[in-house]
């Protein structure tokens, strides 16, 4: 087990190193002098020279890379070109809305997606199953921002049931916070519900035809016990895998959802950063996003052992 974790950590570090090299090269490959870019449009000659010296841009590339990595590991993600503030500070200011949206979305997507998939597998060809076919076709095909505008139009503009857009911080009260997050959460989770439900259905179907399900039935187990006790745990590994993938890639959808609903989160930060060509922010978010991905995958791999006793590393 320990050996496995160690091996898994090493490969995670390898992936992060790849991402690190890529992100590092991003600024160096961008047309123009990195120091010019980092200094911004209004900088003087001296400021550019100062930045060049402070980043060691006169050193050879590998040296620069080591230098850059050391900064990152020390928590120094650089200074935003546009606002002149430390990137880490900007990110932490934007963390709450993004985390709120992500966590609510995952809760909704996992509970609805898994139950939807189980019910569809329970009665294949039944109403819920056919509903899932239609729903997943839509979930896979309608882009998240199109869903967002539809929901805004019908549930906010036409009916005034929910706020059109914006975000209320958690400290302004649970009610306003939640009400403002309902539409964004539903918008973002639809595709993931479809994804999770489809994989849940497929792996449940596979398990339901196993011999041990017949044994359970011969024992007198109820449908509930059969589905949730006997089948779900056996179908758990693929389900956990897609939940992991969904969560790991969530930030892509978050960027779009935050733009649609005008939520001041990390997604907006990135979009503004592209328009301002604010490389340190883009670089940092890339590193953090892929770090999340690697971390989630690692967690999921280790969680397999909790589900299936046969998996021993």
């Amino acid at each position: 087990m320990a050996a496995y974790i160690l091996r898994r950590m090493l490969s995670a570090i390898a992936v992060m190193a790849m991402v690190g090299i890529f992100v590092f090269l991003l600024l160096r490959l961008a047309p123009g002098d990195p120091a010019d870019i980092l200094a911004g449009d209004t900088a003087t000659e001296e400021m550019v020279a100062g930045i060049r010296a402070s980043l060691g841009l006169n050193d050879p590339l590998p040296v620069q890379f080591v230098y850059w990595v050391r900064h990152m590991l020390g928590g120094d993600f650089g200074i935003s070109i546009f606002s002149g503030r430390p990137v880490l500070e900007l990110i932490s200011q934007r963390l709450e809305p993004t985390l709120s949206l992500s966590i609510l979305t995952m809760i909704l997507a996992v509970t609805v997606g898994v139950s939807f998939g189980i019910l569809a597998a329970w009665r294949t060809g039944g109403l819920i199953d056919r509903l899932l076919v239609v729903f997943s076709a839509l979930g896979y095909s309608v882009p998240v921002f199109v869903i967002g505008f539809f929901l805004i139009y019908f549930f906010a503009i036409r009916t005034h049931w929910l706020p059109v857009q914006g975000y209320k911080p958690f400290e302004s009260g649970l009610g306003p916070w939640f009400v403002h997050l309902i539409l964004p959460t539903v918008t973002l989770s639809l595709a993931y519900i479809a994804f999770i439900a489809r994989v849940t259905r497929a792996s449940m179907l596979e398990v339901l035809s196993e011999d041990y399900m017949r044994t359970a039935a011969a024992k007198g187990a109820s449908s509930y016990a059969m589905l949730f006790h006997h089948a779900l745990k056996n179908a758990g590994v693929p389900i956990l895998t897609v939940i992991g993938i969904s969560f790991a890639y969530l930030i892509g959808g978050v960027v779009l959802t935050e733009t649609v609903f005008n939520i001041p989160g990390i997604g907006r930060l990135v979009v503004d950063a592209i328009n301002n060509r604010d490389y340190p922010i883009i670089q940092s978010v890339l590193i953090l996003a892929s770090g999340m991905y690697v971390l989630i995958n690692l967690t999921v791999d280790l969680a397999y052992t909790l589900i299936d006793p046969r998996i021993r590393y």
Binding site: T124, T215, A218, K219, G220, A221, A225, I307, D308, P309
Partner: protein, 335 residues
């Protein structure tokens, strides 16, 4: 023998005209073409036949465990303790399964849930039917493991199926089935998937436990040798019908159906030396998707005459307690 004292109260399970169909995309397979038989209290009834003849379907139809989307029991009565199982609600049926009628399956490697300990799986049966607390049920599970003679039950109770051998898993299956002291145990080829040496142990275990608990056993097998060792009465099935029904002694002494006779000839009996080539039954099993006219065995039967191809013979008593479904049983009995 058993047949003579078969008055009403000794009958545990009474199956009449059981008919089960499978539904394919474009066809209907008549897996059971209306079969009738009884299981007496405490007896061991053997059910023999080739694979695909409907032995397992019979068992699954009785317990109503067939997949609902593809199979249905379309006719008949399964009377058990005064009630027709086919008429019960799903909820009432669940109370029968595992408590009054238990079943063990062919392949112990795939019949246990891989993600739970064997103790929990045995305990589950106890919990479902007695409502006992987990701790009490686990104690019972341990007791059951000792009962099926698994060494070191205190430790084994916390094992996962993958940590056990095939024979041991089948013992676990038996422990699970017997945990609630059922009236009837249906054993569907319980030794087929096991090594020969283990097979004998498991057979002896089932016979032994049956004696101690007084449980009736319906023993499904394709192995006539197993029948001879374990059963009192036998039914022989072919193509979804019962073709012969007799006590074990009668059946082996005077097989009355050509199919039974052919079956017996194709079993190596050890006396005639190793060199003799075993006769096989020529022809193939009929396709149950099409209606069968006449006796289903007629195309493969050396004794078939015109009537065999035109009218289906009913199962009738040729001698007392010895029935066969053949037009020519009386003539061929000693052939």
């Amino acid at each position: 023998m058993q047949m003579h004292k078969s008055v009403g109260e000794d009958i545990l399970l009474d199956v009449r005209n059981l008919e089960t169909h499978f539904f394919g995309e474009e066809s209907v397979t008549r897996a059971l073409g209306g079969i009738s038989f009884q299981v007496m209290k405490g007896e061991t009834l053997g059910v023999v036949g080739e694979s695909g003849c409907g032995k397992s379907v019979t068992a699954l139809s009785i317990l109503r465990l067939l997949p609902k989307q593809t199979a249905a029991t379309v006719g008949g009565v399964v009377r058990f303790q005064g009630r027709d199982l086919l008429e019960l609600s799903e909820r009432e049926m669940r109370k029968i399964r595992g408590d009054k009628i238990a079943m063990i399956f062919q392949d112990p490697m795939t019949s246990l849930n891989p993600v739970y300990t064997v103790g929990r799986q045995i305990a589950e049966a106890v919990q479902i039917h007695t409502g006992a607390f987990r701790s009490i049920a686990m104690a019972k599970a341990e007791e059951m493991l000792r009962f099926v003679r698994i060494a070191d039950p205190e430790r084994r109770v916390n094992n996962y199926p993958y940590e056990m051998s095939g024979g041991m898993r089948q013992r676990v299956m038996i422990a699970m089935a017997l945990a609630c002291s059922p009236e009837l145990l249906i054993a569907d080829e319980p030794t087929t998937a096991l090594d020969v040496t283990i097979q004998a142990q498991i057979l002896r275990l089932i016979v032994d436990l049956k004696e101690r608990m007084g449980t009736a056993v319906m023993f499904i097998t394709h192995d006539l040798g197993v029948v001879a060792e374990t059963c009192q009465r036998v039914i022989v099935m072919y193509a979804g019908r019962i073709v012969e029904q007799a006590t074990v002694t009668d059946l082996f002494a005077r097989p009355m159906h050509p199919y039974t006779q052919a079956l017996m000839r194709s079993v190596p009996d050890g006396r005639q030396g190793q060199q003799r080539r075993l006769p096989e039954i020529p022809g193939i099993v009929p396709n149950l998707r099409e209606p069968i006219i006449g006796c289903s065995f007629a195309p493969r039967c050396p004794f078939a005459i015109d009537i065999c191809r035109e009218k289906t013979p009913a199962l009738r008593d040729v001698e007392s307690g010895h029935a066969a479904a053949c037009w020519r049983s009386d003539e061929i009995v000693c052939a």
